[in-house]
Point group: C3
Chain length 282, copies 3
Amino acid sequence: MAAPRSRRPDAAPRSSAVAAGARPPLVTLTTDFGTHDPFVGIMKGVILGRAPLARIVDVTHEVPPQAIAAGAHVLRSAAPWFPHGTIHVAVVDPGVGTRRRALVVETVDACFVGPDNGILSLAVEARAVRRIVDVSRARVRLTPVSRTFHGRDVFAPIAAALANGVRPVELGPSVRSMVRLRSREVRRSSGTIHGRVLWADHFGNLTTSIARRDLAAFRHRHLSITIGGHVVPFRSTYAGVPVGTSVALLNSADLLEIAVNGGSAAARLGVRIGAPVRVSRA
Amino acid sequence: MAAPRSRRPDAAPRSSAVAAGARPPLVTLTTDFGTHDPFVGIMKGVILGRAPLARIVDVTHEVPPQAIAAGAHVLRSAAPWFPHGTIHVAVVDPGVGTRRRALVVETVDACFVGPDNGILSLAVEARAVRRIVDVSRARVRLTPVSRTFHGRDVFAPIAAALANGVRPVELGPSVRSMVRLRSREVRRSSGTIHGRVLWADHFGNLTTSIARRDLAAFRHRHLSITIGGHVVPFRSTYAGVPVGTSVALLNSADLLEIAVNGGSAAARLGVRIGAPVRVSRA
Amino acid sequence: MAAPRSRRPDAAPRSSAVAAGARPPLVTLTTDFGTHDPFVGIMKGVILGRAPLARIVDVTHEVPPQAIAAGAHVLRSAAPWFPHGTIHVAVVDPGVGTRRRALVVETVDACFVGPDNGILSLAVEARAVRRIVDVSRARVRLTPVSRTFHGRDVFAPIAAALANGVRPVELGPSVRSMVRLRSREVRRSSGTIHGRVLWADHFGNLTTSIARRDLAAFRHRHLSITIGGHVVPFRSTYAGVPVGTSVALLNSADLLEIAVNGGSAAARLGVRIGAPVRVSRA
């Protein structure tokens, strides 16, 4: 789902009717809150109470509960398609109420807001990071901060401040590092690559943490991919296998994907987000 | 659900505070993408990147996968309630990646954007069509265009261009015809009318493709309606049958609807979208 | 989920870039319509057709069908987090088409729009009510008003009028009273308090209608709470019981909540919205 570099989704509008100065601040939300409860609406109320002109776009609220790597993947997939200056808020936060930090990561073209648990790390991996700011004690937070709903009490006010033009550096001290997921999600040992399923889309296609570059050591045509007890052939397209058959291929985001031609790999292989995937020489 | 002609949902606001020039462009989205994946958010990112002032309203993203007639019906139901100048984008697109065309259909009061597979055809049926434009090769598309996600690469940029004031005729050649669903969805043979279930709402009411005018040849009181192996009586209101009993009636959109008084017809009759319905003389 | 008074989610933005005059009108929607059908999109079309600058935020559309008390609770939970002047529309309306009135309740800091069946009553309970207006026959309604969809035909046009600056008093006669849920949802008899489950969040935590003040007559440590045939201990925190064990506590909204430490109380106790809860001396 991620954007090849050659595309420019944020190209300037053809019409001159839209002046640069008229662009309202854009905030995206990615959470595991679901849409049943009022949590997402409450976050929007806090943001719009403080930044009335902000535009808010839902990426998804159906990240599986507390699935940090899945949320990180979906944020990485969506972020490249938003315009320069977008503020991306991601809240998948099993550590809420503990001492985990709250971060703003400023890149050359966007700001990312969320807990320091890796949720932001895949999205910023391909971008030039300018600054990582610890906003855990930013003055703009709602007080008292609850122990359970930092989406409302911390991240929404931070997003509103950024939307109002506050610079990240004004919100807290710069720090040197952040939790990064990459190394946890892909591991090499004696000629085998171990990864995980990061996302199952609603067609049942399974995106894994294993990237094209991880496979560089192999010759692509001679891979053996094991998932959920099944061995899946590697091909260049879905059509490389008969209808109803499982197949592994590199998707448009250059990630290893497991699919079933004309069907659901999640259902067929009985596999969920987080399941291990193994690649070795055939 | 469709609008009787006598209603004017887009009547001018009473307050003079809202000048005509201040009306931001309005874009609606109707898809089968669901809300689990980031696809809808990505489309919004592309639209707002190019048309920052556009307002985007979700009609629904829960059209059953690849159910073109269902999507066409839901678009027809919703479109009359949006104001003059609204840009309606509908993406239910099993032919994505093939040679099916991408269209803008300009009517007297709206623009409709989507693949040329019938998805737009029910909505434009009751309106004066000014122009049908083939936008398959419009310059505003993202490049390269993917083979699987024209919602992002083709339809979102087209919607953004229209929101920025680009006229449909600037986006491609005018064409004479488009795929129309109507004839496929209602068929007459030897005194019998054959239709299909177009939509099951969340109460389980089933809207069919058979309209009041299709029934003109019958005297309404003497119809025999067959669906899912059941024969259902035709009445003028739900209350024409006992609670818990199935009934057929003409709904507020002048379409034949199958319901259960106080219950779910979809559950009771074991019927889904696409199921055949037959009307004959009793 | 409700807001302690000490928090100020609608504090003025730090940036002076946002002038007060630039704040667009904000409308929230709380319904039992779900997101499968185009009903919510149609309401937004009607609102934006008449109030093009309004911002619309979904609180939730997943109130269980016709569950007035649940909707009232969710509206009460969300409303305090929205800024001054927000227009809250709530449509859970089993009496649509009957003679139940349509209301606007004007408080010191917001307007509430919905049917007079109690759906608005919990949200306005803690606020100074300025005026209750019967808008059942307001001229701004769509004509003809349907018998089944007042969200579109009555409440959306009322919300749009308020967003355009029309004052509630211009929309109909003031009335003295409205349907209030409170007394129905908490009952005392011979030392026992009887309440109900108002909401089950997506973690399975159960919020009840019993408030801190209802428990004042008891000494908190000596309560016996009965729900779904189980007796649940009262503690001050989740951690007051072992993981996997059910517990009752006062939540951040000062309502009695039934939870399972690390699990789902709804699943464990087999209990749904509307289930009775009983508190007596241990």
